[in-house]
Symmetry: D2
Subunit: 466 residues, 4 copies
């Protein structure tokens, strides 16, 4: 085994971020070891399909199954030093472990990228089912719980960083329940679209057609062993758009949690202080300012998004491959697992910190109070307009300026204006109440929060505790 001190690694994912417990899971699907394992699995699927068709014996398949289990990346890499070709090396390694009878059936009629592309589709699909979706759903569940818990916590709505009309904090979180929910669905769906191929060196089934009249049917058999379908058309490689879409949805999901993190960061600003990351007693915020407590986790997620989002450009460039393919997508596509690990690290971080998210209800109230009186401006304008005032927007805009200058509240000011009296008197009870109690002017924040949580709980089959 080639062991190395992790701190001699170059990539932060392989030193700094690999110290988390979750790294073992990432490695199961997304390391080089995993890749070799999945490639061997595809080689096995091929032989199994041959055995089912009676082309080779079941005994051959059994031998190959045993051989494949024993394969290690170390031996494949050692062999590759000789062949300078990684899949040929894998094939040689399997062949060394089986009988002479079995040897010819290894890699039978296939080209390297039948194995490589099919194995990648398989492992990204399984990683999605077994790792990505469960992790994302754990975060989704956490957000749902916060949304429900805080569904009635009045918070000032902010647009352009300016106080607007109020919502509830639960409603603000429901935004992310909804957006994350949508990307979870898209990731799941696009992972199911990842395709395999057993169509040979240029995609025309040249080799397999030597033996099968319906080589597409043989391809389907092999892929069925892996629960995959074939690319509609292949060259040497699977059509690149399936993986492009998949990485797009991962990237889009990363954008959603980066936005969430940005919101949480800003809500922790000293002047706002509406949420906080819980701090361990021993934790240091700054090496020189002992009083500092920084939103480092949300900053970290934003930072990771900046690192991984641009990598989508690599994937777009890899859509282009000359003729029946050039190899210029080979090295670059080896980095796709990093994108997944980057995303998952960030999601796991949000789960950890989200479980300890502190909401400061007092500050929420205080901040809302700051411009509470001005909130009345919106319903006032709308009511004036609806009761026929010809220039409501302008009138209210000027009233707010006057309120600011004189220090009076807007609702009092409005009642002193003779020309507005006719309108005021037409307002109904509920409408007047909202003008007097701006904290009730939250629209359907509570109902909508419940509705969204319920809807995503159903769609994603997430059971809420309590």
């Amino acid at each position: 085994m080639i062991k190395r001190n992790i701190f001699k690694n170059i990539g932060p994912l392989d030193h700094r971020y690999s110290l988390r417990d979750e790294f073992k899971d990432y490695s199961t699907y997304l390391s080089e070891e995993a890749k070799v394992k999945y490639q061997a699995t595809v080689e096995l699927a091929l032989v199994k399909a041959l055995a089912k068709r009676g082309i080779c014996s079941q005994e051959v398949a059994t031998q190959v199954e045993k051989a494949v289990k024993e394969i290690t990346p170390e031996e494949v890499y050692k062999e590759e030093r000789k062949t300078k070709h990684n899949i040929r090396a894998l094939v040689n390694c399997i062949q060394h472990k089986v009988s002479e009878e079995a040897k010819p059936y290894i890699h039978f009629t296939t080209t390297s990228f039948d194995i490589v592309d099919t194995a990648n589709s398989l492992r990204y699909k399984e990683a999605t089912e077994e790792l990505i979706l469960p992790t994302l759903k754990e975060l989704e569940k956490l957000l749902m719980e916060i949304a429900l818990r805080e569904k009635e916590t009045v918070q000032v709505g902010r647009t352009h960083g300016q106080h607007a009309v109020p919502i509830t904090f639960g409603f603000a979180i429901a935004e992310y329940v909804s957006r994350l929910g949508n990307t979870i669905q898209d990731i799941e769906e696009s992972s199911k679209q990842l395709k395999g191929k057993i169509a040979g060196a240029v995609g025309a089934y040249n080799a397999s057609h030597l033996f099968f009249d319906q080589p597409e049917s043989f391809e389907a058999d092999v892929l069925a062993e892996l629960d995959l379908e074939a690319s509609t058309h292949s060259t040497q490689i699977v059509e690149p758009e399936y993986i492009t879409n998949f990485v797009h949805y991962l990237t889009s999901c990363f954008g959603v949690i980066a936005n969430f993190s940005d919101d949480m960061r800003h809500l922790q600003r000293s002047e706002i202080g509406e949420v906080g990351e819980y701090f361990d007693e021993d934790q240091v915020g700054s090496s020189t300012m002992p009083h500092k407590r920084n939103p480092i986790n949300y900053e970290n997620v934003k930072s990771m998004w900046k690192e991984f989002m641009p990598r989508m450009m690599t994937v777009y460039q890899d859509q282009i491959s000359e003729h029946q393919r050039d190899l210029t997508n080979s090295a670059s596509s080896r980095f796709i697992p990093e994108i997944i690990v980057g995303l998952l690290s960030s999601v796991n971080r949000l789960i950890r910190v989200g479980e300890k998210l502190v909401v400061d209800h007092d500050n929420m109230k205080k901040n809302f109070a700051q411009n509470k009186e001005l909130v009345v401006a919106e319903p006032l304008y709308i009511l004036l307009a609806s009761y026929g005032h010809p220039d409501a927007h302008e009138v209210v805009r000027k009233l707010t300026l006057e309120a600011e200058e004189t220090g009076q509240t807007l609702r009092k000011l409005v009642q002193t204006k003779e020309e507005l009296k006719p309108y005021w008197e037409q307002f109904n009870q509920k409408q007047r109440e909202l003008l007097v109690n701006p904290e009730k002017y939250i629209g359907i924040s509570v109902d909508k929060t419940e509705k969204i949580v319920k809807s995503w709980s159903n769609k994603l089959d997430i059971e809420l505790t309590g």
Copy 2:
């Protein structure tokens, strides 16, 4: 009207590329005029829904309909110079054209981005149906016809720019029928997912809830006028992932045609010469080399892809909007129409040049002949392996080196080797024939081409002429 010499424009889309006839169509959906028109349409839908609920009279709706038809961007921009707010300007312009009774119902309970986002979803959706999809399908149809026409034209398959085993040129084109077909479907589907919103300043229906107990139902009514659905959750804006997905699929489609163009470019290399762009008699290839004929159209498409592909990064960045939204996606999202026009210009170019695409069958034959003898290597290796040779790949690799050095053909050489005779004799008739006639070693290129064309003809409802 503010008219300007087009050559004083900065953007190539608005000078150089705008000289094509198609520009008029682009402008219908994607210009600033179009945007204002669509925004006015949303304002109208709002009033219509109010009229249907009896909140305002049908007469009001009729007035607004008339007013909206007359709106020009010139007057809106003129008003904006006063208000410094584009939607307020639009609202003022409509109000100037209607009776006092109608005025209050204009923009009733909505916020600017109810109008802006809904209008954008509407116009991108309609542009997709009426402009993007028809254009893409025209190219798809052209590719289908070339694929069928050339389905039996043997061409050497190329991987890594090296001659591999043969395919047919029709099969090579079928790759793009399939990949373009897939992106057409994705674009259509994602355009249908574009959503509207009538949920107010922070998305909680604060204003509309003043008048409606079920403001979501009112929102649905307004959007139904436009054949749109509501975003699952809104803040001041529609969830950004719908448009992100839509632009992703446009970008991915651009990648497909860029790849196609790259292939066509390289097939026109002097040494390859398998296809050509038809040249007008008067056309100049080079200002100094009068003999040059350059693949300028395919080069242009590749170049446009390089310009527009990175803009997806802008869209990803625009997923992030602070709290109930900041405005930092406002200017940037104004550039999305450029991406669409960039794509459509390129597609229209490919249609024009594709209609005159010249295939040089002689050169295809000549190029294939160059390494024809070596093509035998693949089936030979596979057959040897399948008939039990323990080291077939290595044997054939060495045979090809020997063939190269001695100038003999591979298939002759193989027959001189005593140790290979036992295998040779086991090959069946079809197999021996392929070894002798490499041009038949095209797998199922012909059938697969037909199958793909037929399948996409059905899925996309494209009728093939002839």
Copy 3:
């Protein structure tokens, strides 16, 4: 003249943002008209150099000079419809305007991209000198003036959005004086590195060598007419790294002003309120919330940065051109003027809004006061440490927690602790004073601000008024 309603344009630069007065200046250097004009200028330089060498008569040069002045993009585009080649079209147009004797000297021995690349270098260089640098320096000057004016205005320093130790607002602005200053220098220097070429179709001076023994010297003569130097090596095109560096520095400059805009945006948050954009009396902040005043200008600049920053990826891709060049950088490089106009629009916006920037000194004081007591933590820790306390950071961290819980000020608390007394007594007068007056703990903010302004004033030759 081909005139078009600007609202039928696709690009926001050519409709929305083109309504500003500055657009005329942009157009002078960066429109299609400008490009044609500059290309004609290069054709003229060529003939002038020929005349100086006596290869053609001075009369020929005079004729060409006159012809070049008359050239319009309209006639060139009309001719291009025939030739399908833009530079051939230009050459034809010039030739139509001169005598038979003069005709052969037009475009003599050159290839299209001798003209195209040289003309672009020329116009980007002149645009830098005459448009970009003056505009940037105007912003720089404005920042300098704000920095000096506010050099003593105490503001809380913020790291991670959390209150840290204080600075002055002038010092915060000095950051941008310095960073903008650096990019101004880099833009200037890299613009001077933009090169021309008169080296023919493949860069080997094949054609000019027919007539000149030292064709590089002839190239130097032509370029000297334009105050340009030759690319060290050329293919059909100038080495791409010169323009790549130039656009990099523009992009980097855009990043600096985007950062500045982000800071100004956040300082306008309702809870912070330290700066404001001056609002016209008639200006509307929100279509539905008449009380809103949004930092739309700073948001706009951030948004424009998101649009234009990714375009650097196009420039990087255009570094790659096959062999003696493919044309896939042709369309894409036509969009570079948009990047410049995007940047300049944003800089001009910052100038306009910066001139009316309102600083709210009361809010700065109020915000600083919020955590003023905790600011003491840093100097306290450092002083304790410096006077030998073995665990100063930890002690102070715990003291701040205690201060928070008990509501006492840190400096009082520290004086109650017996174990800290020995250290306290060693502090000198200046040090104790800073612990008692946290608003004096601003380091060298004032001096540094002055120093930076003075330094950049000298380096960039910017005279400060008053």
Copy 4:
């Protein structure tokens, strides 16, 4: 030590590409271990400067020097689990190793990013001097040698993938000598611009001003120990533009070698075959086509460029940091070493494969011969024009069409045309000779190649062997 099987790593740089011998060197500067080592070096520089000023004793500096040498990332990470702060952890680890007297001087008055940013500048600067520049110069030298060796090898020039007029292969390589030379200079220069800072938590020297009247002078002293200069202005961090420029030049350099690789790839196309990668006897080209020899190394470099070029977008995003800094550049900037290693891996690959680059002179001749006759078109047009033919370009364009149709050579054809005779007769001897011997029409390819090699040999101080 935390050791891990390298195949469990996620990143290809840390498994696949780390198997090369060079990895040890990369790790010396660019691993996490290296980062910690450099940070400790900065902490030492601080104490040394204190000792020189007599603030602490020389003995303290000696203790710290010894402590710093012993520091391992393992112990720092272990301590970080407690402090949750990496620099505090480093400081604690150093303090544990020194006397009570020395402890207070560790990290004296500094903030974490004084250490982090200064250490990064230091290691990137040293990595440039000791690793990046030597590696790049080795490639440069190799290119110079090939250029000189092949300076007279006639090769057809190619524009748009079409045969144009001839150059020499040495001249084609000289392009990359020149472009790589330019980026080497730029990388060197920008690395020297990397700055440090010892300016405290918000950049105003708040803490150091407690002890020094001229804290900038103290900062200069500390940085002088490391041969660095101070950032003109700092916040918590060094101005981001220095590192942005440095990574830009690395990225630009990557573009140059990607272009070179693309050229070499295409020259290996089966139909072109002008260069080849030398293949080991045992090397496998394709797992299924034993005759294939693929340009995998040049493909790999192109692929790596696609992976790393977009990461510049991360660096541009990291220019933006709120107020006196947010931490959202922290995680992302940890990935910069990957960019350097990606580049160096590719350069080392090019060196390995370049040393065995095979030039096929026969194919170069053959390819040139293919359109040799048409090459005459350019000088013919130019000569006709120069001798006064009013429409030379058009005449020659038509002649080439006729030559193509009739199979005659252009130069023969031209002599049959009565109307051209008057011009022909005016051509001088040298000019006629070039029309008859197109392989001499290579301009100044040979001289220019020599000149470029000589110039870069001087500028970069590269001695050429032989």
